[in-house]
Each structure stands twice: as C-alpha cells, then as structure tokens.
Amino acid sequence: MAALERAVIVGAGLAGLRGAEALREAGFSGSLTIVGAEPHFPYDRPPLSKHVLAGAIPAESTALPHGLDADVDWQLGTPAAGLDRRAGTVRLADGRALPYDRLLIATGTRARPWPNPHEGRLAGVFTLRGRDDAAALRRALAAGPRRVLVIGGGFIGCEVASLCRKLDLPVTLVDPGPTPLARVLGRTIGAFIGAIHAGHGVDLRCGTEIEWLEGAGGRLVRAHCVGGGRIEADIAVVALGAVRNTEWLDGAGLSVDPGGVDCDGAGHVLDAEGQSDPQIAAAGDVARFPHPLYDGRRVALEHWSHAVAQAAHAGRLLAGAPPDAAYGAMPTFWSTQGDLVVKSAGLTQGADAVVIAQGNPATGRFIALYGRAGRCIAAVSVDSARWLPAHAELVAAGAPFPPAGAATDRPKGVAILDPGFS
C-alpha cells in the first residue's frame, strides 16, 4: 500500500475512533486526519445519562481510551461542511479543504431539539447528547429542582427519569404513546417497564403531549399539555430521539436522507444511483445498512456495541483488507434505568408476537422473546441479563417461535402476547 495515501475520518466519536484504530491495525500507514465538530477528544456517551447525571463521575472523565499513536492529525472543533467526491476533498466549516483517498463517515446523531426554538432556549430546558449537555444538566439536578419534566419515554427519557428518582427528585415523564418505550419494545413490554418506574415514584403520564413550555424571566416555569393540564417544573429534559448528522453531505451525490447514509452490505456508501463508492465507508449511528439477519432490510442502529463493531469492520475495509463476510453482527443494546438494567439482542421491529420466556414482569425481572412469522427475532432482558446469551443464540439461529420446552423460571405453557407495535 502506498504510504502517501491520505485517510480522513469525519466524526471524532466512538465510531470514528474505533474506525481509525482498525485502519491502522490493518496496516494503513498513510496520513490520518480525524475531524470533529466538538472541541473534545472522543468520549463515551452511555455514562452521560447514568454516572455523570448521578454525580458519580464528572463529565470530563468520559474520554475514550485509545490505541492511536501521535501520528494523527486531530482537527477538533471544526465541523466538516461539505463533501466533493469528484475532487476527493472534505470541506471544513473554516473553509479549508482536506483531500482524501479513503474517507470514513462517522458523524453520528444529535438530539432532536424542542420544536419551538424560542421555548427550547429557556433556562432549565435541556437536551442530552454531548458531554457539555450532561455537565449542564448535572449541575441543574444537583441544585435541587422542584420537579423535573422528562419529555419523551424512549431509552434516554427512561434513564433520566429513573435517575431523578434515585436522586430523590420529583419527576414527571410524559410520552404521547400508550407506554414508555412503545416504539422500540412495543406496548406490552413497555407497560411492564413503565409499571416498574411508576413503582419507584416516577409520575408517568402516557398518552400526554406537551403543547408548549412557559417561561418567566427567561426561565422555564411550567409545561402545558395538549387538551389542557399543566405540569409545574423548573427543569425539562427534551428526549425526543435523535437526528442524523447528514446535512454536510447535501450535494455530495450520495444516497442520504435524515434517516442516515445508505451503505452496501460491505460497508461502502452508495451514491444516488445505488452504486458503491469504494473510497468511502460509513459506520455508527449515521449509517444505514442491509442487515443479513433481517432479510437484508436496511436498518440504522443507535447502539454503542454496533458502532464499535461496524467501525472496526469499516476501518479494515478502507485499509484494503476486505472482510470475507458482509457486516451483520447481532445488534445488541443495553440501558441502565435507575437500578434496572434492560438489555437486548436482535431487532424487535416487525415482531408479531412476544412471550415472557422467563421470570415474571410483576417481580421486575424477566426475559421477553419476540417472534415474527414463527421465528425468534429479538430478546430483551429486564434485570436478568445472565439469560440473554442463550436467548440471543435462538435469535441468531432464527429458532422457531415460540420457544419449545422448559427452562428455569419459565411458566408452564408460555402465553403468546401481542407485542403492541402500532
């Protein structure tokens, strides 16, 4: 491989870092530039909504350890603003153009902001994606607010709400859906998890939508619900999901939309005609790829372990060491909600049935196994992670659903439930 080649990585997050390491490990010896919008070296996000908010570690302690030597050109605090594939350059916001021979797109996502920008700027209104967000929110929680309002019952919303209870703060969680986590886990399992949080004192308001946030003197004082009703709160955490950072790719001629950058099975990005660009790969939250476990359906995953595995794969790919198999690691995810640990393997989307394979939702510890057309497609453990690997194997093998036979702590004759995806 020519030593003069230039690799550029856009996005100094988890996927960018792991991709850079893999590139070097696979023998790439050319120049390596990592471009990051934030002024920080790569850091880890999962602790932000857990240990950092709890005050157990400061936000600055989340830096990711890495195995890169000094021979890396870090361009931090300067976002990429454009991509010119014909010229082979990445344009930075400060106007400079970085030429590349290989490019890794790893720009991840950002928090979806509160739709009304004026209300979103009120003091006391937060989103949570980056290190600085977490530090600010931690300060606000430590100051002992009257009540915290969490808007959105996804994973991050549930994590923040349950953490507030651990800090003994009054908290209200609103979600327009019928239960928390309904979009990812379905209403049935969402209701079980919601009940656990309610049992710990989270004021859970499902089927409720916030219409507007009221401020006084520039500070949040309360939230107004659609159809009347208000919630007095001096802190609101907007947890409405993520938006993919793809705007900088506008006009680059790639197959890109707000749902992500499309890749082929190997990990190379696709252009608008659907052709692979062998010089460019994408990885992490921003990438959308056909998953072999799910009949090649295109998925975009916002999972830590996926960012790591896919970036390693993409790094090798760009270094010219193409792996023998299409990228298709089993998606896995975890979320720590207060003392509750939720883990999953596989993808629940499209499930037509779910069973409680072990344990009992009433005790707060159980395994839910999701099926689609008679095959196991995903398993979710709630405070019983030790059983997850065995169920993940069923998912990987596409084993028949519902699972046959007995298991420890499994009721005789498991009931087949509607997972409740709408």
Binding site: Q358, G359, R365, I367, A390, G405, A407, T408, D409, R410
Partner: protein, 417 residues
Amino acid sequence: MPDSSLLDQVKDFANRPNPYPVYAKLRQNPVSRQDDGTAEGTWVAATHGTIARLLQDPRVSSDTLPPADRPRTGNPLTDLIVKPLKDWMMDRHRVFIFRDPPDHDALRSAVMHQFSCARVQAMRARSDALVTDLLEEKREAREIDAVDDLAYPLPVTVICELFGVPREDEPKFHGWATQLATALEPDSLSNTEIRAKNSRTFDAIGGYMGDLIREKRRHPRDDMLSGLANHATPAGVKMGDYDLIATSILMLVAGHETTVNLITNGLLTLLRHPDELERLRQDPTRAPRLIEELLRYEPPVQFRTRRTLSAIDIAGVTVPEGADLVLLLAAGNRDESVFPDPDRFDPDRTGTRHLGFGGSLHYCVGAPLARFEAEAALTALARRLKAPRLIADPPPYRQGAALRGPEHLRVAIDGIA
C-alpha cells in the same frame, strides 16, 4: 467387554491422583454422551467455552436431587407420618445450590446481603490468627499432616465464627462437617448407607441450628446468623426458619472440604514446584495470583452436575431433555484454546478466567472467604515450615471425584519457625 466410558474413568479411583489425561481425551469432543446404562446417557461438557455457555443456559437446571427419602426406622408412627412430613419439608426447603430461579435468587440474595465487606475483612484477620494458633500446636513436630493439622479445622472455625456459633459448641461442628463432607459428592446420593448417615447428621445439626436461630432472635449479635434471622434484604427477602437452617448447613458443607482441598492441593503443588514455594516465602504478595492459578490448575471442585429441562443444541450435538449433565470445570480449566500451555503451573498468567468457582448464577458465594483462608494458610506454611519434604507423592486421595483432594498430606519438616 466394551471400553469403560471416559466418565467411568473420571470416577475411577485409580485416576484420582492425575485425572487430567482423561479430561484431555474428553475435550476432544466439547460435549459428549457417555454411557451410563440409561437411555439418555450422561452428557459431559469438557471445554471452557461449552461449560461457560451451559452455566448460563436457562434450560440447564441445578435441581438435580432425587426427592427426599429418609431412611425407614421400623417404627410405624415415624415411617408413615413423620417421614413423609419430613421428606416434604426437606424438598420444600432445599439448599439453594440445588435450586433454580426465582427461589434460588431470593435465598442467595439474603446471604449476599449479610456478606458485608466489613464482615469478610474481619474474618480475614481472624484466619491469620487461627493459622498461627494451629501451627503453634505443632511447634515441636518433625512431621505434619497438612490436612488434619491445619486445612481441616480452619474452615469450620471460620464459618462458625462468621455465623456466631458459641465457641464451646464448635467441636460439634467439626464432627458434623466431617460427616457431611460427602453430601455434595454426586455418587453419595445413590449410596443409601451414606444417605442414611447424612440424614441423621442433618437432623442433629438442624436441631442445633433451630435452637441457635431462636437464640439469635432473642439476643441478636453482630454475626451473620443474627443478621439473616432478624433482617430482610432491601428487596424484602427474609428467610423462614427452615430455609435458614438449610442455608447454614449449606455454607458449612460447601465451604468445608472445598477449602481443605484448596489448601492441601496448594501445598502439594508448591512442594512439587519448589521454586514457586521459595518465591512465595520471599514475597507473600504473590499469594493471590498463586491461588487463582491453583483454582485453575488443581480446582477443589472438579465438576458439578446439572439436568436439562429441554433439549439443547451445542457444539454440534443435541443434549436431550431430561439428561444428566456434567460440567467438567477442571477440564475447562486446562483448555488449551483459553490457557496456553495449560498443564504448566504458572501463577504469572494474566487474564485467566478459570472455572474453579463455577460461574453465572451459582458462582461461589464463599469465594472471598476461600481466597483468604488459603492465603493465610499457604503464606504461613511457606514462611514457617523448615525444609518441608513430601513423605508420599502422590499422597493418598479421598474417594470423591468431584470434590477431589488428598486425604492426608504428610510433610517431613525440620521444625516450625
């Protein structure tokens, strides 16, 4: 006559001093069916990967005990009324090493809740003192038996003090522990004579513990039994009397012969590797890594048994439902794909994930105790025995194949420093 199965060879007493070549043969098929005369056969997992995997498979059950069946006495009142009742009680209040979730988890959580760091640390200091006392008694000797003189008494005293058994009653426990040492040996379950003896011992110790628990309720002290008898866990688990009696007996039994074996296997291995003995003597801080390597190299619990609740596909075979399963921990510990040069005793290995304490939900509760008891004993032996020499190598072994260890370990010495 057909070859004896490899599992028979594991159990064959002739292989007790060195079962590892048989384990190596078993590892050639990660999970294999061994003939035991039944239709299902006994299935043996012998590689690190398959054992670790099966330890956390929900289709694998620890509920392997046959229903309680206490010996008949010939007295019709006892046999027709008392016996069925007692059998029923015993089945309902099994020790949690033989139970599955959710009951297992609840009972175990109660124990873990009482196993506070401070309590464990206090026992650590005590075991150093106990070892000193035991060696003091042998001051003038020119020969010691590491089993009788040190390894056997130590764990019983530690568990008694942890539980708050009055000192004057401790001798009883030494007797009971000796008898019950066989209770975890799988073959003892099918031996009616041993079962009968054990059930009499269970009655004696159960009666004693019942009284002691009542005493701890009336006059709570700062010991583990008082804690278990009087306090619930944060999740609200509090054991009833029968579970508490069963659990106390479990702690005594599970922590006795295992720890004895660790100490004696440890001394034996050190005497076979004099350079390591010398290094430990010079530098007692080597003890922790030495003990981890011992738990890999000569694990006191060589295997555990399980039963399958439904069929399991693993490593290219299907273990049928209802099969007996042997998890050959000691074979997994010599798996060359995880431990390079596995038959070498090397305390400087890094990142070893030995299976000496099992794994997953039944992972040894007493691991911290076992570790520092062994540390206290082995560092003291290394430091104080003058010119120790093995009198017999291999030493005589006890019957057990699962809980495997020397029956005696006689060592000639020039004195105790």
